[in-house]
């Protein structure tokens, strides 16, 4: 009896399991059949109307402390949590600095003493009003903390040693900043729009100080600002959740809750936005966007805005043939810029050949170079290389497009006899070698840190600054002089003229062939409105208060 009982015990779970296996196999087969027949997609499961769900790869997030954050994605989130003295806005297609916590400001005749008048009525979520003392505390903290982005403030003269004197609250409403020399006003203001200068609640910060860390451990995943949103939680590699701040001085934003879900794989983001599980797909590939557009779907749309960066080919003049201006000129004439834009970037880029991108003060729209093989060959012959030469071109892995761009350049240059060998490297080691002037040619990009032409002139034109021009061993006295002069020119007309001169010089003499200005693109569900306005500045300033959802 007992035996028989045990026997049936043995039998039935196993047979059930076998049945289970068969059933699972059937399910897979049915599923596969469904895919094959391409049946209709089930109706989208919409997210709540007051909630915006974003799919993004958040692996790059390190900290949300405004004084330390330096990654684009992190800066976008921090932008929602804090107010700063001044902010950026897009006015008639131009990037401009506009008031935020500072209602107005004055620059004294000495050219170095700035006074900012703090707006009345702004409060932290605790109810405490924001005063000049809070701003003083925040900027001093950022300078003393001295993290990655601190060099932005260092270069206009704020250092941990002098910050007690140079950053001072005169009273509740007036904050005085003394910069190290009379810079162009826009340069100082645009540096102040970086997340670094976000205003933190002094009391919250002081309540969480641990030995010498200025509460950076706490602010890494908590917010202490007066911005439109507050940070509810951040689970690394999982989720970031923001909630509307009821005491925000412009009034609570229409979207009450922002949820950023970690989706490292673009294909997963694509499936999720098509199904309506997320409202915004942050990082699809250009090809995916093109496919979605081609499907003519009405429930999705693509939002594109100019990015704040430049993609370029650089030529190290330490390498014999590339030291000849005519060789570099020949290379610029040989490149098929249109093929790069159309075939690789699928039209998602802005043509650009000078180093100040569109939308920036001082932008020079000149685009003299087009593919002209005859002319390129002739220039090469004049430089003494009728049969070309061999050169190594390095670019990094991890970019969807750079390797392809490098290949186009390789075949373009082959047409004039220059034999290009492409080497792919990881970004880290590549930049290490590049920093030592150790590469011959490189396809890379430059992300702008603050929207002033000086942020581009220094790296691209001034060989005395250890940046891009220096990395390619290019030094031109005139370019260095013009960069320094434009940096401190307070008359904007004269400044404009200086940048015109400088961009022309680098365009023809410099070590670069500038390829294009990238475009930032998001795929959003059609009921998400105002995303264009929110993203107008690319990722320099992201204004989630502009976003709302239709029924």
């Amino acid at each position: 009896m007992n035996r028989a009982h045990r026997q049936s015990d043995w039998r039935s779970p196993w047979s059930r399991l076998m049945m289970g296996v068969v059933a699972a196999a059937l399910a897979v087969a049915v599923g596969a059949a469904l895919v094959a027949t391409g049946s209709a997609i089930p109706a989208a499961a919409a997210t709540p109307r007051d909630t915006l769900v974003i799919g993004m790869s958040t692996g790059i997030l390190i900290t949300l402390d405004p004084a330390a954050v330096y990654e684009v994605e992190g800066a976008v989130i921090v932008d929602q949590l804090y107010d700063k003295l001044v902010e950026l806005a897009m006015v008639d297609g131009h990037i401009e600095v506009v008031p935020e916590a500072a209602e107005t400001w004055q620059l004294a005749d000495d050219g170095v003493t700035w006074t900012f008048f703090i707006r009345e009525g702004m409060r932290f979520p605790s109810g405490r009003p924001i005063t000049a003392h809070d701003v003083e505390y925040s900027i001093r903290r950022a300078v003393r903390l001295n993290r990655g982005p601190a060099w932005l403030l260092n270069q206009i003269g704020f250092t941990p040693d002098n910050v007690t004197d140079t950053v001072r609250a005169l009273d509740e409403r007036r904050l005085q900043l003394r910069v190290s020399q009379p810079f162009a006003p826009n340069l100082v203001l645009s540096i102040l729009t970086f997340p670094l200068t976000s205003i933190v609640d002094r009391e919250v910060v002081e309540a969480h100080l641990t030995a010498g860390d200025l509460a950076t451990d706490y602010l890494k995943d908590h917010s202490a600002g007066s911005g439109p949103y507050r940070l509810v939680r951040w689970e690394p590699n999982q989720i970031v959740e923001l909630e509307a701040n009821p005491t925000y001085w412009r009034g609570a934003p229409p979207i009450r809750r922002i949820i950023i879900r970690d989706m490292p794989e673009p294909s997963a983001q694509r499936l999720a936005i098509e199904r309506g599980d997320i409202d915004v797909a942050w990082s699809l590939t250009p090809l995916m966007r093109k496919e979605l557009t081609a499907q003519g779907r009405t429930d999705l749309r693509v939002v594109r805005v100019p990015g704040h960066g430049i993609e370029y080919l650089a030529m190290n003049v330490k390498y014999e043939p590339l030291s000849h201006p005519k060789v570099r000129e020949a290379i610029r004439w040989a490149i098929d810029y249109d093929a790069i834009l159309d075939d690789i970037l699928l039209g998602e880029a802005i043509p650009l050949q000078t180093f100040i991108p569109t939308g920036y003060f001082g932008h020079n729209p000149a685009r003299p170079y087009t593919r002209d093989v005859e002319r390129a060959r002739q220039l090469l012959a004049e430089a003494g290389y009728p049969n070309g030469f061999a050169v190594e071109l390095v670019t990094n892995t991890g970019s969807a497009t750079r390797a392809d761009v490098a290949q186009i350049i390789q075949s373009n240059l082959a047409d004039i006899g220059i034999r290009v060998q492409i080497t792919l490297m990881q970004a880290g080691p590549m930049y290490e070698k590049y920093r030592e002037q150790g590469l011959q040619m490189i396809v890379a990009g430059w992300g702008v840190d603050y929207p002033d032409p000086d942020a581009l002139a220094k790296p691209f034109a001034d060989g005395s600054v250890r940046q891009l021009a220096w990395r390619n061993a290019w030094y031109d006295e005139e370019a260095t002089r013009l960069t320094a002069e434009a940096m401190v020119e307070r008359n904007s007309q004269r400044r404009q003229a200086l940048y015109q001169q400088l961009t022309e010089l680098v365009l023809h003499e410099g070590p670069f062939a500038i390829l294009y200005q990238p475009v930032n693109a998001w795929v959003v569900r059609s009921n998400v409105q105002g995303f264009e306005e929110a993203a107008a500045l690319g990722t320099m300033h992201f204004d989630m208060t502009r976003v709302r959802k239709a029924g």
Partner: protein, 334 residues
């Protein structure tokens, strides 16, 4: 027995030391600059030099290794270069998700693989065997990435039966963290909604991860089953008139499962490693993802710590399996 365990423990320590040396050497010899990677392409050289000094990366390699080793022995795996958090804290945060996934995948592999092996052994060289063999080959050769995307496409995108990413629904409240295993935690807290949500999120990644191991299990259980089926006691049982089903399941299978026990340890270990891709496809916040993102940022302490930790778990599991095996089969102890 005690001697056997002691010997195994010494071996394990040697293996772990080897892992530590190799990860250290590999991550310090490849020509890469973690500081440059952290600061990005725009950083001025002074900042790079300064951070390098702060992180002790300017010290000679042997000295760095001794420091690291001394820390590791005390259970201090250093701080992540990227986040500044202690690596052990990060592991504590991310490992439970990987553990849950690997356990579930092992279950899938056993639940599908063993019956498959049995069926094909019993129906040797007939249709069931061929079907099982094809499935095994498919299992071994199908890339995890592809399978993951196909299953997502079918069960998430087309049918909408299962969720596509993460460990819980967006608006499901996470149960209080006790073990970090969501299934266990939600059971403890009696939060049925969380349990349902966690289960449904676990299905696809566990199937994808367990799929290739299934083939392995099926092959092993098939061959050991075949071996047992020809032994005398099975013949005796048949001769005594025991029904075929009972012969197979009760007499043969029990004995044939012994090699599979060892396999479980190996499978579990390989699933811990294999979790990297699965975790990326399904946005699963586990240790595999932590190590990948660490690697991409050249965050050596994170990569070394994560790898070492997985090696420890892997060795421990194997140790337990070996001990179990020795208990079952005394011949092994010699």
């Amino acid at each position: 027995m005690a001697q056997f365990v002691a010997r195994r423990l010494v071996l394990m320590a040697i293996v772990l030391f080897g892992v530590l040396v190799i990860t250290f050497v590999v991550s310090h010899v490849i020509p890469a600059d973690p500081v440059g990677a952290i600061l990005g392409g725009n950083a001025p050289p002074e900042k790079v030099a300064e951070l390098r000094r702060q992180l002790n990366l300017d010290k000679p390699l042997p000295q760095q290794f001794v420091t690291y080793l001394a820390g590791a022995v005390r259970g201090d795996l250093g701080r992540s270069l990227r986040t500044g958090r202690p690596v052990t804290e990060d592991i504590g945060r991310f490992f439970p998700a990987t553990l849950e996934l690997a356990l579930a995948a092992t279950l899938v592999a056993l639940a599908v693989g063993i019956p498959l092996g049995v069926v094909s052994a019993v129906g040797r060289n007939r249709l069931p065997d061929h079907v099982a063999r094809v499935l095994s080959i498919v299992g071994v050769s199908m890339p995890v990435f592809w399978l993951g995307l196909v299953l997502l496409l079918v069960f998430y995108f087309r049918l909408g039966w299962l969720p596509g990413s993460g460990r819980l629904d967006l608006f499901t409240i996470e149960p209080p963290r006790v073990t970090g295993l969501l299934l266990v935690d939600s059971l403890l807290a009696r939060e049925w909604e969380a349990l349902r949500s966690a289960l449904s999120h676990l299905v696809l990644p566990a199937v994808v991860l367990g799929f290739s191991a299934t083939a392995n299990v099926a092959r092993t259980s098939r061959s050991s089953m075949l071996e047992v089926l020809f032994q005398d006691f099975v013949r005796t049982a048949r001769a005594k008139g025991v029904p075929e089903r009972a012969v197979v399941l009760r007499h043969a299978l029990r004995n044939a499962l012994i090699p599979t026990v060892t396999l479980v340890g190996l499978i579990f270990g390989s699933l811990l490693e294999g979790a990297v891709l699965t975790e990326t496809i399904f946005s699963w916040p586990g240790l595999g993802r932590y190590i990948t993102t660490g690697y991409l940022a050249l965050d050596y302490p994170a990569v070394m710590g994560g790898t070492l930790y997985i090696a420890v778990v892997y060795s421990l599991v194997n140790l337990v399996v070996d001990i179990l095996y020795a208990v079952i089969d005394p011949r092994v102890r010699v």
